[in-house]
Each structure stands twice: as structure tokens, then as C-alpha cells.
Amino acid sequence: MKLPDLTELALRNLRESLLRNSLTTIGISVGVASLVAMLSLGIGLQQLFSRRLAKSGLFDTVMVTSRRDLRGMGRDEERNGPPPGESRVLDESARLEMERLPNVLEAYPDIRFISELRYEDKPHLTMISALPSSAKSNESFDGMQGNFFTSDTAPEVILQKSFAEELLGKVPGRGIDETNVADLARPLLGKELTMRYAQRATSPAQPPSADAANPPDNSLSGAAYSVVSREQKLKIVGVSDLDPESMRGPTRAKVFLPLKLAQSLHIMQPTDLREVARAAGDQPVYSSVSVKVKNPAQVQAVEDAIKKMGFGTFSILDASRGLQQVFKVLYAFLGIFGSLALIVASIGIVNTLVMAILERRREIGIMKAIGASDGDVKKLFFAEAGAMGVLGGIVGVALGWIIGQVINLGTNIYLKRQGFPPEHFWAVPWWLVGFAILFAFLVSLVSGLYPAGRAARLDPVQALRYE
């Protein structure tokens, strides 16, 4: 029998016992809804975590630190490789080498320093960080008030919301911060700040004249500098709601400068002191370098290449790898629990079809008498089981989606009452819709195996005698 005829006959037969078949289909729907609800919760939670991690802007970034830092983020590096004293200095030449690695978009130094900013003659001490122009695409600046830097060398700053509050003399409240960024930005945008910083100015090495026991190392000519106090006027161009450096914890900055500007200011870095004995000439030495990779899939390869260069690395992939494993286990558990209801529903299909065989025994006999093969009868019952599965699957997905929306809504109402921002932690991706319907279809077919086989094996003579 052709597939369209089979489907038509199957649907006709299902309509004949509408109530019973509807109840069975509803059973499947509930099973599928439970599966969809469970898995979409898992997927939603993973997406929520991924979003949070992605917002850090570090998903496609490798943080490179000098092994000489002695505060490497990877424990393996402490055990393997050359001792810190013999390892490379993270300087400009190393940065350029990293930038030339395949799949690397850019490698920029992490310029980060504590400085005093004066606003309306009031001093404010804070951590300042330099941002490359590529940071403009960081999600953290999506909802920013004002604009990103007009150029990479412009004397401009972007403030983080909490620092803007500090400048305006506002005290952030506890729990959820409902301060409107636009209200904060309005009085600040276009205003000027004065940054006081320590500039590293190169000066020729002065050999100490009196110390004959410790003659100066002439190979280190130029590795001497003076520190000069400077001021730089900066225009406030933006106020960011989100914290682009939320992953950095206590070292996160609240004020951001254009990277090239920061480099041109030769601001004194903590590493300058440590590496003064090794730095060649005027070449700057960095505490860390951020290497931006074309896409997260290439992060591992780039990380490995940088490790081979003798530096310590850290990427969010390192942190998220364990998380992904946790989510895989979570999926498996949620899937198993979700499938239980579907398996119970599949018993309903077996029951319905076995009842249908009893009721339609004579009909099966007639079909066989007029030429239906065992295969035709089997396929017909399979089609009925499959149709119930597909219908149940479609209704179940819709039901699961509705359940998800309702729970999402309910939870968000609860979160709002508790003073937390709303979150979208329920996701029904298209692949889950397809998977759930296919799974329901397959489970139904498996459920139909026994009844269909039984119907096919019916003896036509006995079946025709059946009243």
C-alpha cells in the first residue's frame, strides 16, 4: 500500500474511535510536553550561563600573562616549562608575535592602573583600563548611554554606571540597582575629567659613581627611567550600564580609556618596576596581553601556540569546559525524567492498539481476504501508532512551550518581587521541536511493534468468523 493511502486509512481508523485515540494522543502529548519542558529548562539555563559568560567579552579572548608574573592562572604552567626566571618577558615584541599567529584578530596589552580622577574639583580614586576599538562590539556597550570613543587616540572616557553614581554623589542601593543610566549620563556626558597619573619617562642610565663593588651592567643601557606626575583632560563620552569586566573581580575597572591614548601616555605599570632589569630599552613590558581570536572554536589552538611561546594563558573556555560537562549530565537527567512520561504514554499506545485489534479483528480478516498482505496490515497499525505519535508530539511541543512560558512568567514575577532583574531561562530551540516530535514518533512506532505484529499474524479464517 502506498504511503498516502496508508496515512489516509490510518487517520480514518483513528477518527473511528475518536475518544479513545484522543485520550491516548493526549497521553503522548503530556509525555512530550514533559520532555520538552525538562530539556528546554536545561537548554535555557545553559544559554543563560553562556550569555553571562559571553557578556564578559572573554569567550573569544585568551588572557596571556608572563610566567615571570609568578601569579599564573594555570597550575600546569607552574609544574611544566622553564622556571619563571628563565621565561620570556611579555613585551611589545611578544605581543606582535602573538598578533601574527593564525586566527588571531588582535593582541592588545592590558593597561590597567589605579589613578586619581578629578571631577568638579573633587578627587576620585579608581581603577582605569584601556580598551581597544574592537571592544565597541562588546555586548556591555549595547545599552550604553552616549557613544563609544570617536577614535583610538581621542582623550575620551567611558564610565561604568557605579563610577558615574560616585561622581554625582549618589549612593547605590542594596539589592537590585534600578538607577536609570540615562539619568546618570545626562549631567555627565560631554563633561571633562582630569586624570592624574604617573608617566614613565625614559632617561639615560646613570652609573652610580661611588659603588665600585657593583659596577653597572652596560648591556642594559637605557633600562632606566624617571617617573613624572602628569595630568590629562578627558571628555566623558559614554556611561555603560553593564560591567564589561565583571569577570575580573577586584581588579575590574570602572573607567575606560582608548587603548592607543593610554599607550601614548606611557603610564607607569606595576610590571615596569619588576622588569626594569630585563626590559630592553624603551620597549614597554606588559602585565598581561589580551589575544582576541576569530571565533571561540579556535581559542584552544591559539592558547596552545601561546603556551609554546612560553607564556601563561587563561581563557573562559577553560572555565566553561567543566560547565559544559555539568550541563551534559543535566541534559541527560532531565531527558530521562522527561522521557518517563512518554514511556508511560507509549504503554497507552500499546493498549489502544491491542484494543483496536480486538475490535477490528473481523475488519483485518476482510482486508486479508480481499488481498491485504501481512505487511499491509502491519504497516496500517504502524501508521496509526505513528500518526498518534506525531499528533501527540506536535500538541506536546505546543503544550511544553506553553508550560515553559507560564513558568518563565511566574518565575520572573517572583524574581521581580525579590528585587532581581528578569531572566529568560526557558528556551525551546527548533532542533528540540524537531527532536521531540521525532522522538514521539519513534517511541510510538516502537509501541506499535507488538500490536502491529499481532494484527499481521491474525489468521484470516478465524478473524472472519469473529463476531
Binding site: D5, L9, M367, I370, G371, S373, P460, L464
Partner: protein
């Protein structure tokens, strides 16, 4: 119990031949010999009546010829096919393409309209929908039910249902029309109508007809041969000249 007399092969092509055909059932310790060594031959285009009292084995023989049942021993050969040697799948194909069956209780599927019932064998034969519908309409016209195509069996009289069953049996243009008490549930007038149709198909389409009946009058009126069965054995096989007076039986 008498042994079935050997049947001499009638002239013309042999449509059905059975050799020492047996069908035994076991019920607990008892063996029931529903068909017990029946040997017969039916020529192509012949109209044969199988007669006998209830339990004589006539329906069992018909089921074996129809390929609905398998012999315990012996053989039943239709055309060049030994039905005992066919697989289940081949038997289904045989029933689909070679045999048309009519039953006492019509055996139409209650949930389907007449048209759907009639075209059902064509679905199994994987005939295209358009062609199927045309053939079903023609078959129903042939039995005078063109106005009832969309009715369900429960909306029809017994005679109409049996006519629809005839239309279904003929839809695949089978070589054999096997009728098991086709008038058993009908009044005499309607029964005559049905039998006239069967005779017409036998004459016009050259179909071989084997009809099971316990009504001798009916057999004498329409059959060219009468085969008598008793206790599963063939007890008599005689030619008959159909009276065909058109009267009621």
C-alpha cells in the same frame, strides 16, 4: 465414511485442481477432519456449486481454494500455483489478483463508504487514486449502486450490501469468484437478483465461479456442476443443466 470418488477431468483448461486435500484441526485431544481427502477439478469458466449440510466441509474447501487457509496435506492448485507451497506474501498476492470473494454476511467495512469499500483491493494493489475511483464507480454502476457510492453499509439493505460486495470482488477482474452462501442472509427476491448477477459475470466475463450453498434448488438453477460434501469428503460430483427460469428460489 466413504472415500471421495475420483473426479474425471472435465474438458477445457483446468482452473482449480485439488489432490487428496485435507484440512484437519486439533481441538484438545480430538482431531477434526474438516476436509478429508478431497480431489476435484474445476474448468476455467465453470460455475460449480459445493453442496452439503452444515459442517460438511464445503466452506473449508472454499477457504483453501481462496488461499485463506492452508491444507494439512494434499494440494490445491489454481492455474499453475500450488497454494500449499506459496508464502504468506504470495498467498496475499494470489487473493488480491486471482480471487474475488463474496460472503454470506457481506463483510463490508462499516466505517467506509461503498466506494471506499469497493476500491479497497485496489489500494492494496497500489493503483493510483484517480484510476481507483473510476474503477470503483464503474463496478458500482455494474451492480446498480451508482446512486449509493457515498453511503455507508449500515445505510443500505442486505441486497445492496451484497451487490457492493460483488462489486468489490470484481474490481480486480479476478479469474475466480468464490461465493460462500451469497444469498444466505437475503430474502428470495434479493437472492435471485444477486444470483443473476453472479451468473451474468460467469457468462460475460468468463469467470470461474465456485459457490458454497446448502440450498440445492439454488445450485440446480445456476450451477453447471454440483459437488456434494459430507463429513469433509467429496461424496458426489455431477453435472447440472441450470434451469434459469428466473423464478425465485
Amino acid at each position: 465414511m466413504t472415500t471421495a470418488p475420483p473426479v474425471s477431468a472435465p474438458s477445457g483448461t483446468v482452473a482449480i485442481r485439488s489432490e487428496n486435500l485435507c484440512r484437519h484441526y486439533r481441538m484438545g485431544e480430538t482431531v477434526i477432519r474438516a476436509v478429508d481427502g478431497v480431489s476435484l477439478q474445476v474448468r476455467a469458466g465453470e460455475f460449480v456449486a459445493l453442496l452439503g449440510s452444515s459442517g460438511s466441509g464445503k466452506s473449508s474447501v472454499l477457504n483453501l481454494v481462496a488461499g485463506l487457509d492452508r491444507p494439512t496435506s494434499g494440494s490445491v492448485i489454481v492455474g499453475d500455483r500450488d497454494l500449499a507451497k506459496l508464502s504468506r506474501e504470495e498467498l496475499a498476492k494470489y487473493r488480491l489478483r486471482v480471487v474475488g470473494m463474496v460472503f454470506q454476511s457481506f463483510n463490508l467495512i462499516a466505517s467506509m463508504t461503498l466506494a471506499e469499500n469497493v476500491e479497497l483491493p485496489l489500494r492494496f494493489a497500489e493503483v493510483d487514486r484517480g484510476q481507483r475511483q473510476n474503477q470503483a464507480r464503474e463496478a458500482l454502476e455494474r451492480v446498480g449502486l451508482q446512486a449509493r457510492v457515498d453511503h455507508r453499509p449500515s445505510e443500505l439493505s442486505g441486497g445492496e450490501q451484497q451487490r457492493a460486495a460483488l462489486a468489490r470482488a470484481l474490481i480486480n477482474r479476478p479469474q475466480l469468484l468464490l461465493a460462500d452462501e451469497p444469498t444466505g442472509n437475503l430474502d428470495s427476491h434479493t437472492g435471485t437478483e444477486i444470483m443473476e448477477m453472479v451468473r451474468q459475470f460467469n457468462h460475460e466475463l468468463g469467470m470461474t465461479v465456485v459457490m458454497v450453498t446448502h440450498e440445492r434448488v439454488l445450485a440446480e438453477r445456476y450451477a453447471q456442476r454440483m459437488i456434494f460434501l459430507a463429513d469433509g469428503k467429496l461424496v458426489d460430483d455431477r453435472p447440472n443443466t441450470p434451469t434459469l427460469d428466473g423464478g425465485q428460489f
